[in-house]
């Protein structure tokens, strides 16, 4: 496929993101829910909160519980023995985040209140 293997392509364009020291608030209900989700794997697993491009408002929240990653560039927040990681690239978007949890049949689950967001979508998954 020599059309794209030519020498005319640039090196990858780097995105410039500002690193800020992240502070987040986790409500008691959210702490309970996160601890319950991680279970007895809190020594090896972490909760990563991140933002990715897309969604109806510009960015999408993502939360995953994974084995502690080897990659550098994460900031660590300890929440009652559970480690929450936020990547430096997302730090300016997520600094000041308030993580809550609503235990209800309709609209239940984790909720994010983000002081950096000018807007959010109705389902709460997207912000901008």
């Amino acid at each position: 496929m020599s059309l794209i293997n030519g020498t005319g392509f640039s090196l990858p364009i780097a995105s410039v993101s500002e690193r800020v020291e992240v502070n987040i608030e986790v409500s008691p209900a959210a702490k309970t829910a996160v601890k319950s989700a991680i279970g007895d794997q809190s020594s090896s697993h972490v909760l990563i909160i991140s933002a990715k491009a897309g969604g109806c408002s510009g960015y999408l929240y993502d939360m995953v519980i994974v084995e502690r990653p080897n990659e550098e560039g994460f900031q660590e927040i300890d929440v009652d023995g559970v480690t929450i990681l936020i990547h430096d690239n997302d730090s300016s978007l997520l600094n000041g985040l308030k993580l809550d949890y609503k235990d209800s049949l309709m609209g239940g689950g984790f909720h994010m209140e983000n002081p950096n967001a000018d807007r959010a979508c109705g389902c709460g998954q997207s912000f901008g």
Binding site: M1, S2, L3, I4, G6, T7, G8, F9, S10, L11, P12, I13, A14, S15, S17, I48, S50, A51, K52, A53, G54, G55, C56, S57, G58, Y59, L60, D62, V64, P69, E71, G73, F74, H87, N89, D90, R119, C121, C123, Q125, S126, G128
Partner: protein, 301 residues
């Protein structure tokens, strides 16, 4: 108005390469259409919109699987690349590169275009507008098949462009201007990516097939869904012919109807104009437009 001879023209095009294991996922989250199931060599047009549902960039895809080439207007390069480089998740592999100057986009059109391509070893019978087909180091597709002429599009490594053009010319193709190739595509219902559409609502341009309201969330999706559900799509785009070039931008008719000219290109002495107008406008008669205190007549093609 249809071409009497077959011509080949190179349209200046910017190139952005989205590559990596998660290139498709990252791009798909921003597009108004779902590309998750696109196969290798898919050719399609896509758009990225802002939160107000207006186009920020419009692109032609050449899909190589984990590498997707986007061809677009040079004026959209900065906003497209900014959009693409922001928000790549920590756990996804995706790089954005510029390919400006690496690939040339040629358009071959005319009554003998199929025969000329056949004579240089390309079988036009297998070509469609949905897929690219490899030809040596290049890619080709057939983007229009009419009774009088066909239009083909080729992506060629820049260093091979001159050789290919000479080969086409030696088999009977003539040099074509950028204006004429954009105009002939417009008449054929194709809005070339060279036409600036930044800031426009996709529905106003007739780009309904590039907006998938079932896809789920994308930037601008709420606006598009609201427009569609409230039957608030009031404009459309048509092609008009005039004896004078029209200035780009908003104009009014002598009956106070508002129009917006997004393209005015010369084709064999006539001007082919791509105009956004209110739906329901009477296109069967000649329309008089006020432009700089002059009256210019246009008629629908």
């Amino acid at each position: 108005m249809f071409p009497a001879v077959t011509r080949v023209a190179q349209i200046p095009t910017s190139i952005t390469l989205v590559s990596g294991k998660n290139a498709r996922d990252h791009l798909n989250r921003m597009l108004t259409t779902d590309i998750s199931n696109d196969s290798i060599f898919t050719r399609r047009v896509s758009i990225i919109c802002n939160l107000n549902g207006r186009i920020t960039s419009r692109h032609l895809h050449a899909d190589y699987g984990s590498q997707i080439l986007l061809m677009h207007n040079e004026t959209e390069s900065v906003s497209l690349r900014n959009n693409l480089t922001m928000g790549i998740p920590w756990n996804e592999e995706c790089q954005i590169s510029s390919g400006d100057g690496a690939i040339a986009r040629l358009v071959i059109y005319g009554p003998d275009s199929s025969d000329i391509l056949d004579s240089i070893g390309i079988d036009p019978a297998d070509l469609t507008s949905e897929m690219w087909v490899e030809f040596e180091d290049s890619m080709i597709s057939k983007i229009h098949e009419g009774t009088d002429f066909c239009i083909f599009e080729m992506l060629v490594p820049v260093e091979k462009t001159s050789e290919l053009q000479k080969s086409l010319e030696s088999h009977g193709a003539e040099f074509g201007s950028i204006d004429s190739v954009i105009a002939i595509q417009a008449i054929s219902g194709i809005l070339d990516i060279a036409i600036e559409t930044e800031g426009k609502i996709p529905f106003d341009l007739g780009l309904h097939n590039v907006v998938d309201l079932k896809k789920g969330c994308y930037p601008g999706q709420e606006i598009h869904a609201r427009m569609e559900s409230r039957d608030a799509i009031n404009k459309t785009t048509s092609i008009f012919i005039s004896k004078q070039q029209l200035p780009l931008g908003k104009l009014q008719t002598v009956t106070n109807q508002k129009l917006e000219v997004i393209c005015s290109k010369n084709l064999d002495g006539n001007w082919i104009n791509v105009i956004i107008h209110q739906k329901g406008m009477n296109l069967s008669k000649e329309i008089s437009i006020i432009s700089n205190e002059n009256i210019i007549s246009i008629r629908s093609v």
